[in-house]
């Protein structure tokens, strides 16, 4: 099956202020530094990593909300990397985004009806249809049509996130990028919104890129998961396989750091030393070597590429990926 969205070696670098004004090489913050991903129609790809690893930037570049510095973006078999203006505007209909903060992403001065109508107005839907569709959308996300005359402040966080979802769905997109859609919500509400998103996916055959830092939520909703570290994908694979048999030491450490709610499960914990290095000045070689418990000379010198590490197509970027698997050092 062909991919709905494909990123090919995409980079996004942001220029930083240089200390030397006349210096020729400008310092760059390498938020996304060469990632390749493909997302199949109807699947959910989870993108996990700690703050500053570039997962949100990757999502925005995929939507062309940010221009990639390098690399190609393919959507439905077309190279959209250089799409601009009208071409890009048409594309927006098919790719939408849900934001993290349901408080900041709705205009406080617009009623829900106005917010939901806006995208449809832009794409020229007649008023009669718009009104019908707004009622339908509110119903689909579990709100009532009398809610449409209200303003965002009259809703709770979970309800606002439902409105954000309704807005994203208003133009019947195929791809929805969900950037930490449930992390601002309380656990009981979070579960409601996750269930809603799963139901909507089945109903409308949506494709999700689900960006989050909560590993259990990502596991729950995703078919495949990609783990990012300092702008790179360090491991990607089918979600059950990746979680039960992680090959990259960073994935192993991340998974072992999740506080366990099963109190009978004794687990070996890998506690990583130190903090995430700055993406403005990433370490040479393997970017993880400064915190990796298994780092050797080669890791400091040479950057490992992604290689297939299992029959299921799991890929990891570590010099010792195969050896780690054989020795099972961490389990």
């Amino acid at each position: 099956m062909s991919a709905l969205l494909e990123l090919k070696n995409v980079k996004k670098h942001f220029p930083l202020k240089s200390e030397k004004i006349l210096s020729r090489d400008k310092p760059m913050l390498k938020a996304v530094d060469g990632i390749s991903l493909s997302v199949k129609s109807g699947e959910t790809l989870g993108l996990v990593g700690e703050s500053g690893c570039g997962k949100s930037t990757a999502g925005r570049v995929a939507l062309k909300l940010l221009e990639p510095t390098e690399g190609e973006i393919w959507f439905k078999g077309e190279d959209i990397t250089n799409y601009k203006g009208e071409q890009l505007r048409k594309l927006r209909k098919e790719m939408q985004i849900i934001f993290q903060d349901p408080y900041a992403s709705l205009n406080p001065r617009k009623t829900i009806e106005q917010t939901l109508a806006e995208p449809m107005k832009i794409f020229g839907m007649p008023k009669v249809e718009r009104i019908k569709r707004i009622d339908y959308l509110l119903d689909v996300v579990g709100l009532s049509s009398y809610h449409k005359r209200r303003y965002p402040h009259e809703f709770s966080g979970g309800q606002r996130q439902r409105i954000g979802i309704a807005r994203a769905l208003s133009l019947e997109p195929e791809l929805v990028i969900c950037d930490e859609p449930v992390s601002a919500l309380d656990v009981s509400i979070q579960a409601q919104v996750i269930n809603l998103m799963e139901e909507l996916q089945d109903e409308f055959n949506l494709t999700y890129i689900f960006i989050a830092h909560d590993l259990s939520v990502v596991h729950h909703i995703s078919d495949r998961v990609a783990v990012m570290y300092l702008g790179k994908i360090v491991e990607v694979g089918e979600s059950n396989e990746l979680y039960t048999n992680p090959q990259h030491p960073y994935t192993q450490a991340l998974l072992s750091a999740i506080p366990e709610t099963n109190i009978h499960k004794e687990k070996e914990r890998v506690i990583l030393k130190g903090d995430l290095p700055s993406p403005a000045n990433p370490p040479a070689g393997c970017k993880f070597h400064t915190r990796c418990p298994f780092a050797e000379e080669i890791c400091r010198l040479q950057e490992p590429g992604l290689k297939t590490v299992s029959e299921g197509g799991q890929m990891a970027a570590c010099h010792f990926a195969k050896e780690v698997m054989m020795e099972k050092v961490l389990t």
């Binding site: 309380d186 259990s216 999740i258």
Partner: protein, 332 residues
Amino acid sequence: MKSVKPLLEVKNLHTHFFTKAGVVRAVDGVSFDVKPGETIGIVGESGSGKSITAMSILGLIPSPPGKIVDGEINFKGDNLLKKTEKQMRQIRGKEIAMVFQDPMTSLNPVFTVEKQMVETILAHEKVTKKQAQQRAVELLNMVGIPDPKKRLKNYPHEFSGGMRQRVMIAMALSCNPSLLIADEPTTALDVTIQAQILELFKKMQKELDMAIIMITHDLGVVSEVCDRVMVMYAGKPAEFTQTKKLFDNGRHPYTTGLMNSIPKITPNKEKLQPIKGLPPDLRSLPQGCSFAPRCNHVMASCLTNDPTLSEVDDNHFVRCLLYEQSKKAVTT
């Protein structure tokens, strides 16, 4: 179980906020105790009253509009609610210390870490400035900050999130408190850093033999560090018991609802079972049990009778009518 004299005893605490829009019953009848050296977890969702409980203990309720309308807070045998502000200042930071969620806003950005730490120490201990500086170095070393002498001269913004939280913990520990209140201390941190900080809490507790009240919304954190847990809902305790009992045999429908809402990392993914509906408005709580409108086991009597916290099992307290008939009510 041996009966140890509790370090802190909160009895029937009621903290209300008198606002223009009505009386907000943020904490509405909370009782619990903390023994020396143990870790008590207070879990609940936003608005359940867990932070207000902590602020009440510290005497930090902004008044007006807030007021502790009823209850007792006994710390080492003295009722803290009877203390003057001056006396409270002696206790706060020395006997009872606090670590907040957001280390960036709880440190002063315009002073170096050294100045802030020395100030705390000098305020409570009879030491010279030199000795205080020496103590600050020891503390930073203890919480695992490399090169503490140099780092003391830095400003808060020069530390990463995890490091800042370590500084906060060092400051809280500076006068060897017997009780540490930690309000969502790892919520703003990434998982790998969270694991480091939780490990640090465990280590410090062992070394200094202090009691900890850990306030969190994360049941995972509770299971990692707490001896006993109180689950709060709408300003009232729903369940209070040993951590092991809560996870093995949680009785209150809200507790089980919370546990079922968390995705588990197991190969067969089951659909999550969320708690239906929304938390109630604390200004107009429903009659009867405040969880009744969202409860799966709701009975007719739940809508009229507000249950009391009763002991359903040895040291296992639940506030639910499902368990009330057979059990003895706790007198507070």
